[in-house]
Amino acid sequence: MADAGGVVKKFMFVNRKSPYGTIYALESLEVVLISAAFDQDVSLAFLDDGVYELTKGQSTKGVEMKNFSPTYRALEGYDIEKLYVAQESLEERGLSEDDLLVDVQVVSRAEMADLMAEQDVVLSF
């Protein structure tokens, strides 16, 4: 367990990129998992193509890459439960909450803006 010296900051991981085309989504998730050890107030934001990280039915056999999407479902076990998804980003892509593989909070742009503004540290990928 990591020592944060009693400091608890609000960390937000902002995901705006789709999985597989680039490594950002996967390596972002690796940071999120590590952050759980520091007892910080962690949240994840998914907007723009980042919402594709959470879509059901990912099957990567044909591209010979690791399907890391089940890991999002494991986040709850690490006490990372604040997953915010941009409503407009879902709608633009013809998606709804039912298309996602994990429980999330769907938020409007204004709500997302409020959440971003209250963070101490924003890590974007």
């Binding site: 902002v14 705006r16 907007l47 723009d48 407009e88 742009r109 997302m112 803006a113 409020d114 971003m116 503004a117 963070q119 101490d120 540290v121 924003v122 974007s124 990928f125």
Partner: protein
């Protein structure tokens, strides 16, 4: 909050997405290819000028100079150097990089 944008508005929706999430009183700093959004007379100029009603817009001078576009900046966009970038980061409690 300080937001930085480093993508050309003609190639990506990064700036558009950023501007949709900025709150009044925050600052947007255009860097790298993001500085193309600071130019007057483009299809992106209106979007930036509208945003300037509620947020301060800055552009990184060395990036404008490198690209030969420093003389085309929208009136009211503040041109700063790296020291000014540091000042903006200090001035705002957090920075979000729109990548």
């Amino acid at each position: 909050m300080l937001h930085t944008v480093n993508k050309s508005p003609f190639e990506r929706n990064t700036l558009k997405s950023c501007l949709a999430h900025v709150k009044p009183g925050s600052a947007v700093l255009l860097i790298e290819d993001g500085v193309y959004a600071a130019l007057a007379g483009t299809v992106a100029s209106d979007m930036v000028q509208q945003a300037m009603a509620e947020v301060s817009v800055y552009a990184l001078g060395p990036d404008l100079d490198a690209r030969g576009v420093a003389n085309r900046v929208i009136d009211g966009v503040k041109v700063i150097d790296y020291a000014g970038f540091v000042d903006l980061v200090i001035e705002h409690p957090s920075t979000q990089s729109w990548l």
